[in-house]
């Protein structure tokens, strides 16, 4: 995939916010059916199926190379699967780009490549979804309004670790950067949020903060998929735990009915 940009959609429709009714109301929001992905001769995903309900946190766990990130990237529109189907609220979709994903209310917090270092907090938070004022040739990015929204969002999320929202994110710690990345997913109400190792490399307090954000999203009725290596963390937030092993679904657990040992066993392929 050279340069791998989003699909060649010339007319871009990006709703200011996803349809409000899409966020709430229980039931299944996302379903993945028999997704298969090959990288050359390596099969990264082998007929993987899973689903997520509204207000549910599903954790994807597995060893390195188990296919967790690939699965997230398929749902996020970054990787096109070779086979398989994707349903959002029962509707079968072809998600070929991050734009498609956003249109259907899917927001992703990636493990890396989340922020542009040369931009400040406000611009990173609103990257690709800027607010505007003025019309015609005078239509311009409304930094003042975006700054206001940023302060509001940060205080709303209880984030007090960022004191200058116009400072470039290059100077910030990993924890600050990750909170910005997660805050981005909460700026608008997205029915589906994917978090790919949101706490990788963070300190204890910072992990706690990110987990609080996840639970807050869950409380809003968001369907959440979280990839993590940290079993303790998963037992803190997840409702269901999907274990991937060598590109296949190895096991599915309900958190309430299992133990970390059982999950670890499945991760290592002993289930």
């Amino acid at each position: 995939m050279l340069n791998g940009g989003p699909g060649r959609r010339l007319v871009r429709r990006r709703p200011a916010s996803p349809p409000p009714d899409a966020a709430l109301g229980g039931g299944e929001v996302l379903r993945v059916v028999d997704v298969t992905k090959w990288y050359g001769g390596v099969q990264a995903l082998d007929r993987v199926s899973m689903s997520v309900d509204s207000g549910e946190v599903v954790a994807l766990v597995g060893d390195n190379g188990a296919g967790k990130s690939t699965l997230v990237n398929v749902i996020a529109g970054i990787i096109t699967p070779d086979e398989g189907e994707l349903y959002v609220r029962g509707e079968r979709l072809a998600i070929r780009s991050t734009d498609d994903a956003a249109l259907h209310g899917i927001r992703t917090v990636h493990q890396e490549h989340t922020l542009a270092d040369n931009l400040d907090v406000v611009e990173n938070l609103f990257l690709g979804r800027e607010m505007y004022r003025g019309v015609g040739p005078l239509r311009r990015v409304d930094f003042a309004a975006m700054q206001k929204r940023t302060w509001a969002a940060l205080s709303d999320l209880g984030i007090s670790t960022i004191s200058d929202v116009r400072a470039s994110v290059a100077m910030m710690s990993g924890g600050q950067r990750q909170t910005i990345a997660v805050a981005r997913a909460t700026l608008e109400t997205y029915p589906i949020v994917l978090l790919d190792e949101p706490t990788a490399g963070l300190g204890v307090a910072e992990c706690q903060r990110v987990m609080e954000l996840v639970l807050r999203l869950k409380g809003q009725g968001t369907a959440i998929v979280i990839v993590s290596q940290n079993i303790e963390e998963i037992f803190e937030v997840a409702d269901r735990i999907v274990v991937l092993h060598l590109g296949k679904v190895g096991a599915v657990f309900r958190r309430a009915e299992t133990t970390p040992e059982a999950v670890l066993g499945a991760v290592m392929g002993m289930a």
Binding site: N3, T98, L115, D117, R129, Y132, R140, A144, G175, Q176
Partner: protein, 421 residues
């Protein structure tokens, strides 16, 4: 984390507390705060300092250097390089490079010559066609770069050679096409009447100051940020106003604002607006900062790249137009020689990063004034061409080193300032 955080909370920690001193100390404190605010934001500061040094040095060598007539002359000399540098900056912000701008300027100048001299096409139509050709050539290269993922260095290197061939082919065996068109000659041969210059200056200064005042009153932020914001948002507009009034006074003391220079300023203002205030412009910075993050945020990275190269081709054609107007002809040397390298040098001297994501359209102006100032000053002091090239080389190296060292020290200072706060 707390160390970065503390640094951000107390940006004024490095300054002496206000209470401890008389009015003179306060003034010094204010000046330092202002300087630090400008430094932290603008990357062009070292370049502006070099501009002052150049002015002082050459004035001490030749009484004529700072005369209005020579400064007007210098502005026109800088215009061509500045326009090409502006085209370069558009792609440099993406983290790409365009080596074909000089050749594209040459080809489009040749096209203009053929249209005007051989085809008797009306001047405005001829200009439109030449600009469209520049855009098309830029877009063509942009397509290879963005859709096929070929490095811009390679594509535009091929473009540099290919378009030079095209230029020579269009010009044919005689090698030069004279362009006798009063309207095209007027682009570089005329000046604004002094009164019009002053009215224009008054309007711009008023707009800049009103904007600044609004920014100062509307500044909001966290602890301690207020004072910096207020000083920052008023300090810069005042500086800009002083520079504008000074420039107009100098031009009017000679023959008025040169039309070509006015075109350049117009292009820079439009470029500034696009890069700083519109989403495509901000996305240019985002792609230059982290293309993958931009793509994942839903920014059409390929389209942004393509458009940037088309824009840079259009600016190259504009440079070709200015060159053709200035020389009264389109020749085999139009757009050739060291023009491209001077333009890249000017962009970098002005503070635009070669690695993308950092810079400003204004660096085209500042950088090319430095390049032209040095060339002009060395001419006045009867230096030879070999000396000129060597001095220009040294200046490019020094300016960029100064910029890099300053920036490193600045970011280090911030981290340390926070550590013991």
């Amino acid at each position: 984390m707390s160390e970065h955080n503390a640094a951000a909370v107390n940006p004024l920690d490095e300054f002496p507390p206000r209470e401890h001193g008389g009015p003179a100390d306060r003034l010094v404190g204010l000046a330092r705060r202002w300087l630090s605010a400008v430094l932290s934001r603008g990357t062009a500061m070292p370049a502006i300092a070099s501009l002052v040094i150049i002015a002082v040095f050459f004035q001490s060598q030749s009484q004529y250097f700072l005369s209005p007539a020579n400064l007007s002359n210098l502005a026109v000399q800088a215009t061509l390089v500045a326009i090409i540098a502006l085209g370069e900056i558009v792609v440099l912000l993406l983290g790409e490079i365009d080596l074909s701008l000089g050749s594209m300027a040459g080809v489009t100048a040749a096209i203009l010559g053929v249209l005007i001299t051989n085809g008797h096409v009306p001047w405005f139509l001829a200009i439109f066609i030449m600009l469209a050709c520049g855009a098309a050539m830029g877009a063509f290269q942009g397509w290879w770069i963005s859709w096929l993922g070929i490095p811009s260095f390679v594509v535009t290197l091929a473009g540099m050679l290919g378009f030079l061939g095209l230029q020579l082919w269009i010009l044919g065996p005689q090698g030069t096409l004279s362009i006798f068109d009063p309207n095209i000659a007027a682009l570089t041969g005329t000046e604004l009447p002094p009164l019009v210059g002053w009215i224009l200056a008054a309007l711009v200064v008023a707009a800049v100051l009103v904007r600044g005042a609004r920014g100062a009153s509307g500044a909001s932020g966290a602890l301690g940020e207020h004072r910096v914001r207020a000083v920052k948002s008023l300090g810069l507009p005042v500086l800009i106003a002083v520079v504008i009034v000074g420039a107009i006074a100098v031009f009017n003391a000679s023959r008025g604002v040169p039309t070509a220079f006015l075109i350049l300023i117009g292009l820079l203002v439009v470029g500034w607006w696009i890069t700083m205030h519109t989403s495509p412009g901000r996305h240019l910075f985002a792609v230059g900062g982290n293309a993958e993050a931009a793509r994942r945020a839903g920014i059409p990275v390929r389209r942004i790249r393509l458009v940037a190269f088309a824009l840079s081709g259009t600016l190259a054609a504009t440079g070709g137009l200015i060159a053709a107007s200035y020389n009264g002809s389109a020749g085999t040397l139009t757009g050739g020689g060291t023009l491209l390298l001077e333009a890249i040098g000017a962009a970098v001297i002005g503070g635009t990063s070669l690695f993308g994501g950092r810079g400003s359209v204004w660096s085209a102006l500042v950088g090319s004034l430095i390049m032209a100032g040095v060339a002009n000053g060395l001419d006045l002091t009867n230096s030879d061409q070999p000396i000129k090239y060597m001095v220009q080389g040294i200046i490019v190296l020094l300016a960029v080193s100064l910029d890099t060292v300053l920036r490193q020290r600045q970011s280090r200072g911030r981290h340390m300032g926070g550590a013991h706060a």
